[in-house]
Amino acid sequence: KKTFEGDQVLRIVPKDEVQLSLIKDLEDMIELELDFWKDVTDVDTPVHIRVPSHGLQSTRMYLESQGIDYSVMIEDLQVILDEEQEEMDSAARVAA
């Protein structure tokens, strides 16, 4: 089963067309294996990107070097998934 330890979901709000374009360039950086949960659309519209742990440093460096602000929406995806699984298992046990 694929796990997502250390994967983060970053929230980026492009401030202008330049930032929009720079964030869009991330889509072409295949080696980072980014997963766009919420794609690039317009200025001021949040973009959500799941960044695998191995690509976190590069992605953050890219954003910071371009002066693009971001926040961490999900600190560790696997923690959330474990909670979801536990909730499902627990509910199933109660039902049983």
Partner: protein, 309 residues
């Protein structure tokens, strides 16, 4: 659960549990609900569609599908809730009763069953189908880029490793082709609503071209009414408009194809977005999401009933 009253709508369920739910609902409502298997997935799972009908033959119909992108769990969960809501509202809610007295409703709760199974057992973040791609180690096609509507154009990828891989040809995915065949064979579907998550939007065609649809004004006004009704419950604010103007260009999308087939009331939803969890929407959000979405669905279905074409 032994019956659909005891089914826990407030938690996420496996595909087996949803299949079981569908069979229970049919058994409990033999006069109104039937199960149609419109095809099978690549891995051989049945593509089940619940038909809600109070009689008649080939009545005008409304299609609703949930979960074409498998990781969007709140959609399959909402679809399950909708199914129960339809049977429990008939005879009690005058608006829904009027709709079902004249029209049929088709509901496909798990539109991408292989992907859904995979999200539960192998990769929670899986979005696409599970058909292998010859010559690539990457699996699956984005079934919302696989329709014959601007297929192969901008806003879809030709790379099998991309999340928006369009597939080798239009309707290459049995999960898509089965709906295509069903819609064509039926020939009397008047509204088609495809439900996704997340980002809180209600969209109408087109996605593949900037050319506005002929019915833009009507669809825009209807979308506005639907999201207003939706917001009336919990204040959830939706954006609305054509796909290409509201989000981005996307070719090969579901409702572009259905609109081009003559189904005027073609819409796609992106359900609730808390801004915190993305696709991992906590289970306590399922029922509020389904409840508010139901109000928007009712607006669309009611308009479809009252504006025959």
């Amino acid at each position: 659960p032994r019956n659909t009253d005891n089914f826990d709508y407030s938690r996420y369920h496996t595909i087996e549990e949803i299949y079981s739910f569908q069979d229970m609902l049919v058994a409990e409502n033999l006069g109104m609900v039937s199960k149609i298997v419109i095809g099978s997935s690549y891995q051989g799972r049945p593509l089940n569609v619940l038909k809600f009908s109070t009689g008649g033959s080939n009545r005008p119909a409304i299609w609703i599908d949930t979960g074409i992108h498998s990781r969007e769990w709140v959609t399959q969960a909402s679809g399950t809730w909708f199914a129960k809501k339809i049977v429990s509202s008939y005879g009690r809610d005058p608006a829904l009763t009027a709709i079902l007295d004249k029209m049929d409703i088709f509901l496909e709760i798990v539109t991408n069953p292989d992907g859904f199974y995979y999200t539960h057992n192998s990769n929670r973040m899986w979005r696409k189908t599970r058909k292998p791609n010859p010559g690539s180690s990457c699996v699956g096609v984005d079934p919302n880029r696989n329709w014959d509507a601007g297929f192969g154009g901008p806003g879809a990828s030709n790379s099998p490793c991309s999340e928006t891989f369009r597939g080798p040809r239009a309707h290459s995915e049995s999960e898509v082709k089965s709906i295509v065949d069903f819609v064509k064979q039926h020939g009397n579907i008047k509204a088609f609503v495809s439900i996704h998550a997340y980002s809180q939007m209600l969209l109408y065609p087109y996605g593949y071209t900037r050319t506005p649809v002929q019915d833009q004004n009507e669809l825009h006004a209807l979308a506005k009414r639907a999201i207003t009704d939706l917001a009336s419950l919990y204040g959830t604010r939706y954006r609305y408009g054509s796909i290409i103007n509201t989000i981005y260009q996307a070719s090969g999308g579901t409702i572009d194809w259905t609109y081009n087939q003559g189904i005027k009331y073609s819409f796609t939803f992106e359900l609730r977005d808390t801004g915190r969890y993305g696709f991992i929407l906590p289970a306590n959000q399922i029922i509020p999401t389904a409840q508010e979405t139901w109000l928007a669905l009712m607006a669309i279905m009611d308009h479809t009933l009252k504006n025959p074409y």
